[in-house]
């Protein structure tokens, strides 16, 4: 014991890295992760890694359709992450985005089915307002209970997901088309009422613009407004917020209305702007992936756009590999997992450095 040696490896805190260095570490992490993915894929399939990546790139961006499809996925993911950002910044654990998106999408689908006779602008207004209000209500309920009775918002928002799923599943059965298919099918395929119009010969353009505008607004909201300041303070310490004269309950409720509303809007975009149908998998797990996006970006909406794009690229590319090499969907999830692992891991090296044991000669020199 007394003769135990100096530890072989120690972790020491860094003083903070310069921005270019941080960027280099993060890019390095992405590169290493791509390398590891290549090796893994090669080991499984025997395909040349370079080919794998060109397949991925062409899978995600190769054709106009694929490019827009990737952008659409990224836009949807960003939109949800933008919605989650204020909630998580307030340290309100909103893991109910999945349900908020779904309920927004369901209302949109309902409007498309029942109000297709309305003039286009009025129909869009109904869809837009309906989805936002529905999402906001899904966010409001847990917030009110938290503000009044200090209930646990994590469980509450999680449970609200199941309410949304059950409701959707009820309406899917009700709106079933064709009869016996157990799906809603494409809504308004004939007249395309309530579909986003084609701009630059794509239907996804409007979604993309909407998300870009939202990200700018959210950035300003969180950073420069009084509301944003209140969110930061409440997130840091409720006691401090009360001391500063803020009404914590009011801030919580207001922020969750916003958070749920934006997530509901994402449901609107998913249905009216992309799938034109509704099913229990319309949100497709994006409500959870968006949590990672929001945290990784440290609630900076522009960084969220980039991370969403990366994830959408990975997903699109990995699907292409899977289909080309006759692997199933899990292969693509594995690739996404490997890459996320490296990106998250790089944060460690940005904050800490490793100190190895000096060689005996060097150590005793002093």
């Amino acid at each position: 014991m007394h003769n135990s040696r100096e530890p072989w490896l120690r972790v020491a805190k860094r003083d903070g890295m310069s921005f270019p260095k941080r960027l280099a570490v993060r890019l390095g992490a992405v590169l290493i992760s791509l390398l590891v993915c290549g090796i893994v894929i090669y080991a499984i399939t025997g395909i040349n890694p370079v080919e794998v990546y060109s397949t991925m790139v062409s899978g995600a961006f190769g054709t106009r359709t694929r490019l827009w499809s990737t952008l659409k996925e990224a836009a949807l993911l960003s939109c949800i992450a933008i919605g989650l950002a204020p909630a998580f910044k307030m340290r309100f654990w909103n893991i109910g985005a999945e349900g908020q998106v779904l309920i927004g999408g369901m209302i949109t689908a309902g409007c498309m089915i029942y109000l297709s006779a309305l003039p286009a602008w009025l129909l869009f207004l109904c869809m837009f307002a309906g989805s936002v209000v529905a999402g906001a209500i899904w966010g409001l309920l847990p917030a009110v209970f938290k503000a009044k009775w200090n209930t646990n918002e994590t469980l509450f928002t999680l449970m609200m997901n199941y309410v949304a799923i059950q409701l959707t599943s009820f309406f899917v059965a009700k709106w079933e088309n064709p009869y016996g298919s157990n799906t809603v099918g494409i809504i308004n395929q004939q007249g395309q009422e309530g579909w986003f119009p084609m701009i630059f010969s794509t239907r996804y353009f409007i979604s993309l613009v909407l998300v870009l505008v939202l990200s700018v607004l959210m950035f300003i909201y969180l950073k420069y407004t009084k509301h944003g300041y209140e969110i930061s303070v409440v997130g840091a310490s409720e006691n401090t917020a009360r001391y500063a004269g803020m009404q914590v309950g009011k801030v919580t409720i207001r922020t969750m209305l916003l958070s749920g509303g934006i997530c509901g809007l994402a449901g609107f975009m998913a249905v009216a702007g992309a799938s034109h149908t509704i099913s229990v998998s319309t949100a497709g797990g994006k409500g959870f992936t968006a949590i990672i996006v929001a945290w990784l970006a440290k609630f900076n909406s522009f960084t969220m756009l980039l991370i969403s794009l990366l994830l959408a690229f990975l997903e699109g590319g990995a699907k292409e590999i899977a289909s080309k090499c006759k692997l199933n969907d899990y292969a693509s999830q594995m690739v996404t997992g490997i890459i996320l692992f490296f990106i998250l891991g790089s944060e460690f090296f940005i904050n800490y450095r490793l100190v190895f044991r000096k060689s005996e000669k060097e150590g005793s020199g002093k």
């Binding site: 014991m1 007394h2 135990s4 040696r5 100096e6 530890p7 120690r10 020491a12 805190k13 860094r14 003083d15 903070g16 420069y224 407004t225 009084k226 509301h227 944003g228 300041y229 209140e230 930061s232 303070v233 840091a236 310490s237 006691n239 401090t240 009360r242 001391y243 500063a244 004269g245 803020m246 009404q247 100190v355 002093k366």
Partner: protein, 510 residues
């Protein structure tokens, strides 16, 4: 030498670009009580953390009884008989005393509660502790938790005990008890190192004093040869005047009239019981009392953060002689009435400031609503932050550096600076100098005196009776949520204050 227990040889520790300890070489003798004295941020805790295995030195090494040792983690430290009681207790709240004692010990050993209880009793009897093995930690008072931490260290067989600022959370009576225990340990030939910056305690308890300044080792001197002034000079690096100024009260009129103030906590227990007093402009009203006797509730009730029972009244009179009732109003309502009430709360980073924000963003905490429309005003808080940084000499890499990264003294300067900048009529401070070094403490006293001269009614909740008696014009003593007496600060006696604090009412009110 034979009687050296522990030696540090050229020990250096860096955190990023900050050098916490630079080339420290010192010896600790067997069976001595060594006081490790130094200003805030002088590296006392870091140095001791290297002995207890929390940190590993970047340079130099440690010798135990002349033999070089590597302390890689707290387990190594315990194996070498070194145990440390940290300033922030490392206890599991929902576990009992006995369960906390055995955490991390041999996992293969059977849990024998009777045996543990017996060892606890044995340790307690030997040194004069009182510990109930079956009491849960969350039911314990601060002093009980500390006792448990010390017993934990002894239970694990420590011969060298390191106590990090042990008296910071104790009342004078509890401190005396702790010192008695420490003397018993010395009799039992244990080595005790006390990290502290309270000079009177150093002089009372220690055999020798080791002084650190800005991460560097200055000297070790026998306590018998040292005086408060000589130690301060070594610690600060220059002569410091230890007298606190107290000017006569001028233009005194009632600023704050508190009458029949009562409030209860969540469990319905009375925290304040029919408290009545007046605070005058241009005076410092001290509030003394054993911690947890209603001081926190009193200040928070006045600030609108604590609901009061009906019948309570706090009347604030402004310069123009207009009265305002503060009870039943929220902090923002109070501010909107034009009541300039500043409050430096006890929990600096948990209530007074936002730790993750920089100085600039913290400056606008109370008046962030002043900006145009929906946007916050970002310019004036930055100007104010720079002004506070210059005037109070806040050491920070920049005004956007999160304040949680600053040392305790600088954090307090930021908080007090902001509250004073709001040009208050009433300034309430709770434990304003707790954990601060001498220089910062005196800066704070001076700031309070400046406010007093400006005609501000200053309410100073303190724990150091010597300071209360030197600084305050009147001293109100709280005991069990009741006012047990109000004394004149110039004539009050320590014994009298002590009696009022513990609730014996023989003393005569001033």
């Amino acid at each position: 030498m034979e009687n050296i227990a522990l030696s540090l040889r050229n020990v250096t520790k860096r955190f990023g670009s900050v050098i916490a300890n630079k080339d420290v070489s010192m010896d600790i003798r067997k069976g001595e009580i060594l006081a490790l004295l130094g200003e805030n941020g002088s590296g006392k805790t870091t140095l001791m953390n290297m002995l207890s295995g929390i940190y590993y030195p970047d340079g130099g090494h440690i010798e135990l009884e002349g033999e070089r040792v590597n302390i890689r983690d707290p387990r190594d430290a315990f194996a070498l008989g070194i145990g440390m009681v940290h300033q922030h207790f490392k206890l599991v709240d929902t576990f009992t005393a006995a369960e906390n004692l055995i955490i991390g010990l041999d996992p293969n050993k059977k849990l024998d509660r009777r045996e543990i209880a017996a060892s606890i009793k044995e340790i307690c009897d030997r040194y004069g502790f009182i510990v109930d093995p079956d009491k849960k930690v969350y039911e314990m008072s601060v002093s009980e938790k500390q006792t448990l931490e010390i017993v934990k260290v002894l239970y694990r067989g420590a011969n060298i005990l390191i106590l990090d600022e042990p008296t910071a959370v104790l009342t004078p009576q509890e401190t005396e008890k702790l010192f008695a225990v420490i003397r018993n340990m010395k009799k039992d030939n244990k080595t005790v190192i006390i990290i502290t910056h309270k000079l009177n305690e150093v002089l009372e308890i220690s055999d020798r004093v080791a002084i650190l300044r800005k991460g560097e080792y200055i000297d070790t001197v026998p306590t018998a040869e040292a005086t408060a002034a000589s130690l301060t000079e070594m610690m600060v690096g220059e002569k410091v005047d230890l007298n606190i100024e107290r000017s006569e009260v001028k233009d005194k009129y009632v600023r704050l009239a508190v009458s029949h103030l009562s409030c209860i906590d969540e469990d319905g227990i009375k925290k304040l019981d029919d408290v009545s007093f007046e605070a005058y402009s241009g005076e410092i009203l001290g509030i003394a009392g054993v911690s947890g006797n209603g001081q926190k509730e009193l200040l928070e009730a006045i600030a609108g953060l604590q609901p009061a029972l009906s019948g309570s009244s706090v009347i604030f009179t402004n310069q123009e002689g207009v009265d305002n009732q503060l009870i039943g109003k929220s902090p923002s309502k109070i501010r909107n009435l034009g009541v300039h009430l500043s409050f430096v709360p006890e929990d600096r980073l948990g209530m007074g400031l936002v730790g993750s924000m920089g100085m600039a963003d913290n400056m606008m905490l109370k008046d962030y609503k002043k900006g145009h429309g929906i946007f916050t005003d970002r310019k004036s808080p930055r100007t104010l932050a720079k002004q506070v940084q210059d005037e109070l000499q806040v050491v920070t890499p920049g005004i956007s550096t999160p304040v949680s990264r600053l040392s305790g003294g600088n954090v307090q300067k930021v908080l007090v600076g902001r509250e004073i900048a709001a040009a208050p009529s009433v300034l309430m401070t709770a434990y304003a100098v707790r954990g601060l070094d001498i220089n910062t403490s005196y800066t704070i006293y001076q700031l309070l005196n400046e406010q007093k001269k400006k005609g501000v009614a200053v309410v100073y909740v303190g724990e150091d009776l010597d300071v209360l008696m030197e600084l305050c014009d009147r001293i109100l003593v709280l005991c069990g949520g009741k006012v047990s007496g109000i004394l004149d600060g110039r004539t009050a006696k320590k014994e009298e204050l002590g009696m009022l604090m513990t609730g014996r009412r023989e003393a005569v009110d001033a």
